[in-house]
């Protein structure tokens, strides 16, 4: 059975949600709907659903919803496919998985194309896509071997999986197991790119943002993990 997890904010998108449900019905993808606002202990609820034979967890929400669910599933031993139906803004993870909008997400769910994706961890928080921090006054300790110091304003990303669309005229970001990709853009002339196994971030003024949804204070230690999550992805999206 498919378990659909509806985020609280979907109240604002009633029309869209109705359309999603119509498409799912048309594709014969019915299942059980759980409203996150009604659940007191989501960890136990998910474990019970998996024990009762849930076939797929479908997150209907945004980056924050998916990141929360991934952090729970990472600690559950049974591997269950996870899918996202993106609704509203802040859905860059869905985009990275090759899912552009809610309608397409329903068809992708139906196609059930699975990819095993390694998770990375920032302090004790798992993430799928990236950690972002403003580059000014950021110090990165790379692989305990050298430090990179950024004094100018710009964007600093540490990718677990890169965005689907590559940065134009830029370095190709490859996905390799147990490797993080660092990308810092200060200007069109100043771009830094490298691969690392471990990155520590320090910035006394700025917080980092995990998966474009959760703010955390530095210092932050970021490392790839051996935890894998089975994700349903769009066509032409591979992670190996």
């Amino acid at each position: 059975m498919n378990i659909f997890l509806y985020d609280d904010y979907l109240d604002k998108y009633k029309k869209k949600v109705r359309k999603i449900e119509e498409t799912l019905n048309k594709l014969n993808l019915q299942g059980k709907i759980l409203y996150l606002s009604n659940i007191k202990n989501i960890d136990n609820t998910l474990q019970n659903e998996i024990n009762s034979g849930a076939k797929t967890i479908v997150v209907v929400g945004n980056n924050k919803t998916l990141n929360n669910i991934i952090n729970i599933l990472a600690n559950i031993s049974e591997k269950i496919p996870v899918s996202i139906i993106p609704v509203g803004p802040n859905n860059s993870i869905a985009e990275s998985l090759g899912i552009i909008n809610e309608k397409e997400a329903c068809y992708i769910l139906s196609s059930r194309r699975l990819e095993n994706v390694n998770l990375s961890i920032a302090n004790n928080h798992f993430f799928i896509k990236d950690v972002y921090i403003e580059s000014k006054n950021t110090i990165l300790n790379i692989d305990n071997s050298y430090k990179m110091i950024f004094q100018k304003k710009g964007d600093c990303f540490i990718f677990n999986i890169p965005p689907k669309t590559e940065f134009p005229n830029d370095q190709k970001i490859e996905i390799k197991e147990n490797i993080l990709n660092l990308y810092v853009k200060i200007s069109s002339k100043s771009k830094t790119f490298l691969k690392a196994k471990k990155i520590e971030i320090e910035n006394k003024e700025e917080n980092a943002i995990i998966d474009n949804s959760i703010k955390i204070k530095t210092p932050i230690l970021i490392e790839p993990t051996n935890k894998k999550i089975l994700l349903i992805v769009g066509k032409n999206r591979t992670f190996s």
Partner: protein, 129 residues
């Protein structure tokens, strides 16, 4: 195209790029090609090639397979293959390489030793015996 030029062009497919205004401090090691446009202090080692950009300032000893220098380096260089020193380059330190080209205008302050890969290998073999 000459092999040397091919190597230099391939540097653009670098695995690591250090951008302008970025400062690196410590032991910097890589298996692939590196482009440095920022500043580095410490030491740099790679099995690939290094391109030191015009605006870069490096205070480090460097070991690489091939190298193109357009910026400033304060440190010793060990290049297994071809080293190309461009017109705006300024180097303070000793250089060891197998092949070298130096453009008019480049500044070098140090000892330059040029030994072909073959003779280097022979020397190493002799030392091992």
């Amino acid at each position: 195209m000459f092999k040397k030029e091919k190597i230099i062009n391939n540097i653009n497919n670098a695995e690591t790029i250090i951008g302008e205004s970025v400062h690196v401090n410590g032991h910097f090691e890589s298996n692939g090609n590196i482009i440095i446009n920022g500043s580095v202090e410490g030491d740099i080692k790679t099995k690939g090639a290094i391109l030191v950009g015009e605006k870069s300032k490096i205070n480090a000893n460097i070991k690489a397979e091939e190298m193109v220098i357009k910026g400033e380096i304060n440190g010793n260089l060990k290049v297994n293959g071809y080293l190309s020193i461009k017109e705006l380059a300024k180097i303070v330190g000793d250089i060891e390489c197998a092949q070298i080209s130096i453009e008019k205008g480049a500044e070098i302050n140090g000892q330059v030793t040029i030994a072909s890969k073959k003779s280097k290998n022979n020397k190493e073999d002799e030392e091992e015996i």
